[in-house]
């Protein structure tokens, strides 16, 4: 609580929209009640999450300092949620529907970053902002200051409808039939706090795209996605509508969304979405959070039954005047230019301007105008830069700018005549880095920097890759410049590793008795076609060797690609095998800890690497050798499964993935029971008794999920595989292997493993 909170409340009186103001007042009261112990901690946790106040690393009060895990000396106060210390800094996520902002909003973001955070505002992979190191008691004032400029944090986290994202080119794109911006805005406000969204078992992410072929909206990886279409109506006039897809998502096991309807007229967008929400709220899983996203309901029912239920529910909905009311005059909301159209002046030998225009500027549909991307390092921008950006936006546009899912900004409606002056203004505040959306523009989730789930430092790696690639960007082949790199700190895919040319997600391995940060390398993902296909892991590489892996793969691509062959097609043609073979030497000849302790720490973090609070255990020689042998086999099998899938041998792929599960499970069982046979039933039974029933195998965050995936694969062994189920089975097998590694590490650090009587 700041001494100025009351002053802010008085100052903003009448400036905060009534509804938002009341909600903030309620939240402030709830904070007070929780401090007095009058609200249960679980209830308060979900309450604050629905207000965007999220946890952050070390908020359990424990921190590994490089030698051991220590308790941080926080004051003894009520918790913010189960195991969450009151005074521990947290994160505040700020919703920005379709990424749209104006100069005043940028200025307020700058003020808040300075006064409550560390001076940095972070653009997320879903067009939100995040402020880190926020005290819970400061959040009501922050929310009021945001609400006064039309921004809310409501439902930015928790089991709710998250930020509604949209293609940042909407309205100026060459390929779209119409601008999706006002529809995304209408949906965002229609669903906020809607009664049909209150019963969700998990989060729900909507996205809009203007076209099917480009990546900007990424609708295929969303819980619900809308792609703009027009078709002749009964009166012969072109009618606006959307192709709506449901049940997509990344997370540990990604799903491509499935088609709910090929065309819904725009008038049906809100009611149909309401029906989807009601069906999800009513029938979605509630108890098991790992199976509670809408994709699991669509999986369970099949899209036909899901569709049937949605349309039946749609018919039962009570008429809501907002369905059409929110769409009235929607075309009047379209943005326009501040300055007249123009021509791009000559560069006059200004190489930096030339490079910037080449990488960051593209023509709009409207002649004489361009968009300009601002390439933010790791999505971060300082408060001073935000204020300068507000001035620039006001100077060159009618006061609009957008965030992008690649953690950048996009300024639109720039007259071509203004481009050199815009560049100069951006350059003055160091916002004119070239290479936006190119290989140097690495996307990364927060990872171990601030996220509680982070396993490896995604931002550390992302920053290092960016530095190294920028340094040699002039030497890079044009084909390489066009690649995307996306890094996640764990399997949850917040960095978007599944939909990248080169994707990485954090894992850990043990080398020479020490835990070492690693990243799984993923190939085969596709950013284009709205995240058209998902990649698969091929090999885990020590974190410090990932930059070398990027060099190896890109050089291999340049040397062996056919003319004009895109990376995705190249990987499909040559297969993942040769790429894996190329990277295998990076998993050999490890330095000893004494020779190179830096190898055993993570990027940007000099502490001895650790996952959680697990210390370095004693190695049980022979057992380890056998375990490692079995696990190497399991990893090979899951890789081979991916190769089968690439060659459309679905049955072989699915069965091999199942074999990988078994091999990894057997590796673990063997630690306690040398004589376990190869009989799948016996492996499953032994695994269940020793590691599942005892909960030893349970993941701290997703509990029994990985074990349940194994049991499910065993239960349906011999099934006929489809492309989708094969892909899922392979991804699940890979995650099961990671879980086996984690369990093994946990057992090694325990005083004495239990043995079966």
């Amino acid at each position: 609580m700041k001494t100025s909170d009351k002053l802010w409340k008085d100052l903003l009186n009448g400036k905060v929209p009534e509804q938002l103001g009341q909600e903030v007042d309620q939240f402030e009261t709830e904070i007070g009640l929780r401090k007095q112990g009058k609200i249960e901690e679980k209830v308060f946790a979900e309450t604050r999450l629905r207000r965007g106040a999220y946890g952050q690393r070390y908020d359990n009060g424990q921190r590994y300092d490089g030698t051991e895990s220590r308790k941080l000396p926080f004051a003894d106060k009520p918790t913010k949620g189960p195991g969450t210390v009151w005074d521990a800094p947290g994160m505040l996520r700020i919703k920005v529907p379709f990424g749209g902002l104006n100069p005043r909003q940028l200025e307020v973001m700058a003020e808040l970053a300075e006064e409550y955070s560390d001076g940095i505002a972070h653009v997320t992979t879903r067009q939100d902002f995040q402020l880190h190191f926020i005290h819970i008691e400061n959040t009501p004032t922050i929310m009021r200051r945001l609400a006064a400029v039309g921004i809310t944090t409501r439902e930015a986290c928790g089991n709710a409808v998250r930020n509604v994202t949209a293609c940042p080119l909407a309205g100026v794109c060459h390929d779209e039939p119409f601008d999706v911006t006002p529809y995304s805005k209408a949906l965002a406000w229609f669903l906020m706090g809607h009664p049909d969204t209150m019963e969700f078992g998990r989060k729900f992410k909507p996205a809009f795209s203007g076209c099917a072929q480009h990546a900007c909206g990424l609708v295929q990886m969303h819980d619900i996605g809308y792609t703009a279409l027009v078709r002749p109506g009964a009166d012969g006039k072109l009618q606006r509508g959307f192709k709506i897809v449901v049940g997509g998502g990344l997370g540990p096991v990604p799903r491509q969304a499935r088609i709910l309807t090929e065309f819904a007229p725009v008038e049906e967008m809100l009611p149909l979405t309401q029906a989807v929400c009601r069906v999800f709220g009513k029938h979605g899983e509630k108890k098991n959070r790992n199976g509670a996203r809408i994709k699991f309901l669509v999986d369970k029912w099949g899209i036909e039954k899901f569709r049937e239920e949605v349309f039946a529910t749609r018919k039962e909905l009570r008429e809501d005047p907002r369905w059409l009311g929110m769409l009235q005059d929607i075309e009047k909301e379209e943005e326009g230019p501040l300055h007249p159209p123009g021509q791009l002046p000559a560069f006059g030998g200004n190489d930096r301007l030339y490079e910037w225009v080449k990488g960051n500027v593209r023509d709009q549909r409207q002649a004489g105008y361009v968009t300009a991307a601002i390439n933010l390092p790791l999505g971060d921008i300082t408060a001073d830069q935000l204020r300068s950006l507000a001035d620039i936006v006001a100077k060159y546009t009618r006061g609009t700018i957008r965030t992008t899912v690649e953690q950048n900004f996009l300024i639109r409606w720039i007259s071509k005549t203004d481009v050199p002056a815009l560049f100069a203004d951006l350059d003055r505040v160091e916002l004119a880095a070239p290479g936006a959306t190119s290989i140097v523009d690495v996307t990364s989730c927060p990872g171990t920097d601030t996220c509680k789930l982070g396993i490896s430092s995604s931002r550390g790696l992302g920053g290092e890759l960016r530095n190294q690639l920028v340094a040699k960007s002039y030497q890079l082949d044009e084909a390489v410049k066009g690649l995307h790199i996306k890094v996640s700190g764990c399997f949850n895919s917040c960095g978007g590793h599944y939909v990248s040319d080169l994707g990485f997600y954090g894992v850990s391995r043990t080398i020479n008795g020490y835990k070492v940060p690693h990243f799984q390398v993923l190939l085969g993902g596709e950013w284009e076609h709205n995240a058209g296909s998902y990649g698969l892991p091929i090999i885990a590489i020590p974190s410090k060797r990932v930059p070398a892996a990027v060099d190896f793969v890109t050089e291999f691509y340049v040397k062996n690609r056919l003319k004009d062959e895109r990376f995705h097609a190249f990987v499909k043609r040559v297969g993942k095998g040769p790429v894996r073979a190329l990277l295998e030497p990076l998993n050999q000849n490890f330095p000893t800890h004494e020779a190179d302790p830096g190898f055993y720490s993570d990027w940007g973090d000099p502490r001895q690497y650790s996952i959680g609070d697990i210390g370095i255990g004693e190695c049980a020689g022979e057992v380890v050798s056998r375990y490692q042998f079995e696990m190497t086999a399991a990893e090979r099998l899951v890789f081979e499964a991916g190769q089968h899938l690439d060659q459309d041998r679905l049955q072989a792929a699915g069965e091999t993935a199942y074999a990988a599960f078994l091999r990894a499970a057997k590796a673990l069982v063997q630690i306690q029971f040398d004589d376990v046979s190869n009989d799948p039933d016996e492996i499953v039974a032994e695994f269940k008794e020793r590691f599942f029933d005892t909960q030893v195998f349970f993941d701290p965050f997703v509990g029994p999920k990985f074990a349940n995936d194994f049991f499910a694969a065993h239960a349906v062994r011999g099934e006929k595989f489809t492309a989708d189920t094969t892909h899922h089975r392979i991804a699940e097998a890979q995650l099961f292997i990671e879980a086996v590694h984690n369990c093994y590490n946990k057992l090694r650090s325990a005083p004495a493993p239990a043995t079966k009587a």
């Binding site: 001494t3 002053l7 003020e111 940095i120 880190h132 005290h135 971060d380």
Partner: protein, 184 residues
């Protein structure tokens, strides 16, 4: 006018002659040892943004940093929890805390990192308590000068508004005629 949430920044003397990333390890050690007042929680390395917060040692009651805002390297103390007492008490506390981390870093990098003894700034990190206006400067100046005179004696010092943009936080830059001892 109540001056809460003060940020004290003591500028680096001359150019920064260390790799700022080397401070990350020092700050991690300070967290491990809880070696500064208040609860120390984490280290944020933000060197990838230009003219940014640099390396921040994040605490509950206050943050410490090797800061690069406005392209000026300096050691920074940022008070986050309110403090009782007078404005003079709060100024003294912020300068003492900044002085403590400055001395500590100088000891870590002997001969390589020195902080100015004539140049620092004080900022109020709360726009509603102290808007960045000439009126605020006029209102706070006597109190600031009185404190500085009490600390520095008659040697004198010059005060200037740190930033003229009213959107910025209110802050003053202080340059002294003779070197001062870092407050202990």
């Amino acid at each position: 006018m109540e001056l809460q949430y003060l940020v004290a920044k003591i500028y680096v003397d001359g150019d920064l002659r260390i790799d700022p990333v080397s401070v990350v390890n020092v700050f991690h050690r300070l967290v491990a040892q809880q070696a500064l007042p208040g609860v120390l929680v984490d280290v944020a390395e933000l060197l990838h943004v230009p003219a940014g917060p640099g390396v921040v040692l994040v605490g509950v009651e206050a943050d410490y940093a090797l800061d690069h805002t406005s392209h000026h390297w300096g050691v920074l103390y940022r008070r986050k929890a309110p403090l009782a007492g007078t404005n003079a008490d709060r100024i003294r506390q912020a300068l003492q805390a900044a002085g403590q981390i400055a001395r500590l870093l100088e000891a870590e990098f002997p001969g390589q990192l020195t902080f100015s003894r004539t140049d620092f700034s004080l900022t109020v990190n709360d726009r509603v308590l102290a808007a960045n206006t000439p009126a605020t400067f006029a209102a706070t100046r006597p109190e600031l000068e009185a404190y500085l005179q009490g600390w520095l004696g008659r040697a004198g010092s010059t005060l200037a508004l740190l930033e003229s943009d009213p959107r910025q936080r209110f802050g003053v830059r202080v340059q002294t005629a003779v070197p001062f001892d870092l407050p202990a």
